[in-house]
Subunit: 227 residues, 2 copies
DNA sequence: GGTGGATTTTACAAAACCATGACATTTGTC
DNA sequence: GACAAATGTCATGGTTTTGTAAAATCCACC
């Protein structure tokens, strides 16, 4: 409870408005007026969420976000963009933002997104970093999998898919969502590619890949990880 | 009681007419004259129902509705469309509207739909997300059913039919309603198809499918779920 | 520029799901 | 009980979705 939100925004009026709004909602707020300080506070104070303007002195929002991700910081980022400032959401999301909002926006709209992002993050933090499937152990953080003593080699994509399913906590994940999250918004493989990776995951992890115990198909929807 | 209805409509005459009509019927009314404000009020004030014009300044009805759903807001939406404005109701229902009405409509027609939607929503909020039938447990939200330890596999259509019957709370559901709700307004299978799906539901869920304990036939009407 | 692994595409087979109609059985009515 | 209408059930076929192997491509690294 009482999540901490870092607001990185150079316009004073907007910044204080955001602080007031979020404080009134019960969030604790932190501020920064330029990109360099913003990055510093983000790393130092580990907020639960960042509201990030794109146009910023010193270091713009894209660069800041990309740098965070480069440092393996997974804090949820909600980008704020003036209309027309950004051609397509792709750029922002590629830099690693989790959602974006076009100014001017209504307060409720903002709060709804903030809540959604925090909920998603909460869920993420709840998912264990290790999975056990019969005799196979998977360390999602370190990207290592073992069957008994022997190492099982999984590729980066396979780990990412597994993590996404684990975060879904048993809910099915659609093929489209696999593509959006694992592949990103700039790559466009066919949805059949997903099936192939599922097949290889099953081949490596399931006792009987023909009758999967863990990675289940949800016909017409996608796949789910069954505990 | 005293449900709150949000009216999003740019034509002043129509808007005041709707407000007058609904107020006279005992509903509390809220208004918005364009899509952006409409979305804001919808999120802020959480009405029990929204009357939504399609042609709107700022943000049209389809987009508004789709955005609501994206934010996981399930408020019932009744779309109002001028004749010829919309080729098929499918588009609106695809955007997540619950019903639609073509202008000009009679006041009684409108009130009937409003009542129907509110009743349906009320019911929905009352129906539990899990059903128990002897040893079979059904989680309608996650779409998983178990008999003892073992999973019982139900198809998407079967879950949808079960949910519809559960929401009816023991009232019989007609074959036509099954088709309208589960199959949608674009598919037209014969009513016999419904019977077949009922048969497979019984085969999977009933102890003795010949003498169903839960899924009862109401001769000349349809089927009901008996608790 | 060659090599090896990862990834994607492609193509085809298999499985799941669904719709239909025939025929048997049950129900309601007279 | 006889009849007609409604429902149960099964076999069948068609369509969509999924499984998977093999070929093609990509890409980092040497």
């Amino acid at each position: 409870m009482n999540e901490r939100v870092l607001i990185i925004e150079d316009e004073t009026a907007m910044r204080t408005a955001l602080v007031d709004l979020l404080s009134a909602e019960g969030y604790r707020t932190l501020m920064a007026a330029d990109g360099a300080r913003g990055l510093e506070r983000a790393l130092n104070e580990k907020p639960d969420l960042i509201l990030l303007d794109i146009m910023l002195p010193k270091l713009d929002g894209f660069a800041l976000c990309a740098e965070l991700r480069r440092l393996a910081n997974a804090v949820p980022v909600l980008m704020l963009t003036a209309k027309g400032q950004i051609e397509d959401r792709v750029t922002g999301l590629d830099a690693g933002a989790d959602d974006y909002l076009v100014k001017p926006f209504s307060t409720e709209e903002l709060l709804a997104r903030v809540r959604a992002l925090l909920r998603r993050a909460e869920r993420k933090s709840r998912t264990p970093l290790k999975l056990k499937l019969d005799d196979v152990e998977i360390d999602l953080a370190r990207q290592v999998a073992t069957r008994g003593k022997r190492q099982v080699h999984l590729t980066a994509k396979e780990f990412a898919m597994l993590r996404l399913m684990a975060e879904a906590e048993g809910e099915p994940v659609t093929r489209q969502r696999f593509l959006d999250v694992v592949w990103g918004y700039t790559a466009f493989p066919t949805t059949r590619t997903v099936d192939n990776h599922i097949a290889s995951l099953r081949a490596k992890l399931e006792r009987d890949p023909e009758e999967p115990r863990w990675i289940k198909t949800v016909h017409g929807v996608g796949y789910k990880f069954d505990r």
